[in-house]
């Protein structure tokens, strides 16, 4: 039905095959080519031997003698495995922490509706709009005073500042869609608010929890400015910071291992994302639509 309706709008208007090619497929392919090319280039470069990388002869779009040397160098001659582990640890812990706080806060704002909850909701939305580029200097002085400088804790405690507002905002939307009647029935049956939250609201909000979790995880995996400022030893760096600050030293750039580092730093989020695309997109669009 819907599709038929949509088709009629163009049908009369010469939606011939060639027109469709020029107005739809050609621009779409150009878009896809541009959006995906850097990834292709990353992959290709990872497996290219140095002679091919530094030669202008031959076809650069293909690898003629693939090599694993860059990956080997990355994994065994640099602290890359440590960075991966740090990023994973920091992302997982700060995501879990943020989700726990956000569930309570969102439930409290959206369902308990205590005095002033509307204003708290607004304040949380405003908190989401505060960019890290404004906060990193004062946070750096705080991190230093708290003796957290150069520790993973500095990141675990500061990442929730951008994760919690987002997750709370997202979960508020999900909680809003759960009918009040369910909660009222449970109250009449003698359930406490905590039981209602754990047994009724949370199971119904699982898609929201997954969306918020995936989103928070990718946001913390991608975080750069805090990790760059609050951490200085190689063992505690995250992947984005480690690759940018430690693999780029010197005049001769090791493009192969740089690209391998970028590739392996992107793969985990890309893989996670590909499993939960729908949740991710609904989180992204839900947060904007609210």
């Amino acid at each position: 039905m819907k599709e038929a309706a949509r088709d009629t709008q163009g049908m009369r208007y010469l939606e011939t095959a060639s027109r469709r090619f020029f107005t739809l497929w050609l621009p779409l392919c150009v878009f896809l080519f541009v959006l995906l090319f850097p990834f292709y280039w990353m992959i290709i470069t990872t497996f290219k031997p140095n002679e091919e990388l530094l030669s202008r002869e031959g076809n650069p779009f293909w690898v003629h003698n693939p090599t694993l040397a860059h990956i080997k160098k990355l994994l065994f001659d640099t602290a890359y495995p440590d960075w991966l582990w740090n990023t994973l640890l920091v992302s997982v812990v700060s995501t879990l922490l943020s989700i726990a706080c956000s569930v309570l806060a969102a439930y409290s704002i959206e369902r308990l509706r205590f005095r002033g909850s509307r204003y708290v909701g607004m304040a949380i939305f405003l908190a989401y709009l505060v960019p890290p580029s404004i906060l990193f200097i004062p946070l750096a002085t705080m991190v230093y005073k708290l003796n957290l400088f150069d520790t993973r804790f500095a990141l675990i405690l500061t990442y929730p500042t951008f994760l919690i507002p987002f997750c709370t905002w997202l979960l508020m939307g999900y909680f809003k869609s759960i009918p009040y009647e369910l909660e009222e029935c449970a109250l009449i049956d003698g359930a406490s608010r905590w039981q209602i939250l754990v047994r009724i609201i949370l199971p119904l909000a699982v898609p929201g929890l997954i969306s918020a979790g995936i989103f928070a995880f990718t946001l913390s995996w991608n975080e750069f400015i805090y990790a760059l400022t609050f951490v200085s030893s190689s063992e505690v760096k995250t992947v984005p910071v480690g690759v940018v600050t430690e693999l780029v030293e010197g005049d001769v750039y090791h493009w192969g291992s740089l690209m391998a580092g970028a590739l392996f730093g992107s793969l985990p989020v890309a893989a996670l994302y590909s499993f939960f695309v729908e949740y991710y997109v609904s989180g992204l669009t839900g947060a904007v639509k609210e």
């Binding site: 850097p38 509706r113 580029s133 906060l135 990193f136 109250l187 690759v243 690209m259 970028a262």
Partner: protein, 313 residues
């Protein structure tokens, strides 16, 4: 919207304590979030503003010096250039992101095979860490081995490799291009979600009345999409204006400060330079611009409530 619940809970819950009072419980549930956000967001926001009025250096808490930092920055030619760069970068990148994003959203909203798959891969640039994709761009923009130069030269369009990041204007446009590459998917996917909420019956009615595709777009799609456009573009402008990663990785602000943005200058002055007060003043100077963007969007949202006859907000 209050539920009639509290009186019921007290009776049924036996022990019925103050925990059943939803005002008390509400605040209790809010406590962890409030504690974290006040300690690591509200307080630093105030501290940052305060630091902007001091001469704090790394390892030395500063004295209050009034507007001295701001006066210095106003007279500093680098800061003025950076302000220009930031506004230029934000304006050009946001306009192009909006135009391309809307176009891509309209394309993806058409009848397509593998729609879900296409949408998923379109969003890839947005989810991959920016610092890492910026490194890929760095390699693509390399002055000696750039694949773009290689391809253009083979096509006979240029004779000699382009110095993408070495020349001030080239560097500006190259960084803007990388920013657009990363931002278009976000704009496209969120606008696509907005497009999908527009009921096909509007188009049916419009085409029965003889509206051309352009008229349908202009008088049906665009007005209904305005509220989402307002929100998406606010986010886009905010994140572009405060961009840091891309510039830090690609150029570190160079050549000749041509690509320095306020965020990167603030970092450079504060962390490697050690002048926390000056860096904080630059960061504080971004706030009025951000507020302007937010207010702009707020009025966009007001318009939505008015358009849909709603009374909330």
């Amino acid at each position: 919207m209050a539920t009639a619940a509290p009186s019921l809970t007290r009776r049924s819950n036996g022990g019925g304590s103050w925990l059943d009072n939803r005002h008390v419980l509400g605040l209790l549930f809010l406590l962890p979030t409030a504690a974290l956000l006040i300690a690591f967001l509200t307080y630093p926001l105030g501290l940052g503003t305060w630091l902007g009025f001091t001469d704090a250096k790394i390892g030395r808490s500063g004295e209050f010096i009034g507007l001295e930092n701001f006066e210095f920055l106003w007279g500093d030619s680098v800061t003025r250039l950076v302000l220009f760069n930031t506004i230029f970068y934000t304006t050009i990148a946001s306009i192009i992101k909006f135009a391309l994003g809307l176009w891509l959203a309209l394309l993806l909203n058409k009848h397509l095979p593998f729609k879900g798959f296409l949408r998923a891969i379109v969003l890839l640039p947005f989810i991959v860490p920016t610092a890492l994709s910026a490194i890929a761009f760095w390699w693509i923009y390399d002055s000696q081995f750039s694949i773009i130069s290689w391809a253009l030269e083979r096509m006979g369009l240029i004779h000699g490799y382009i110095d993408f990041l070495g020349d001030p204007w080239n560097a500006r446009f190259s960084t803007i291009a990388a920013n657009i590459w990363r931002g278009v998917p976000f704009v496209a996917i969120t606008l696509l979600a907005g497009l999908q909420t527009i009921s096909p019956s509007y188009y049916e009615a419009a085409s029965l009345d003889g509206a051309s595709p352009w008229q349908q777009f202009r008088h049906v799609t665009l007005p209904l999409l305005t509220p989402i456009i307002a929100v998406v573009m606010t986010f886009s402008v905010l994140f572009t204006f405060t961009d840091f990663q891309l510039i830090y990785v690609l150029t570190r602000g160079g050549p000749l400060n041509a690509t320095h943005l306020m965020a990167t200058l603030s970092f450079q002055r504060a962390i490697p330079g050690g002048s926390l007060g000056e860096g904080a003043a630059i960061a504080t100077a971004m706030v009025p611009f951000l507020l302007a963007a937010i207010l702009f969007s707020y009025f966009g949202l007001q318009r939505r409530a008015w358009q849909q006859g709603g009374s909330d907000k």
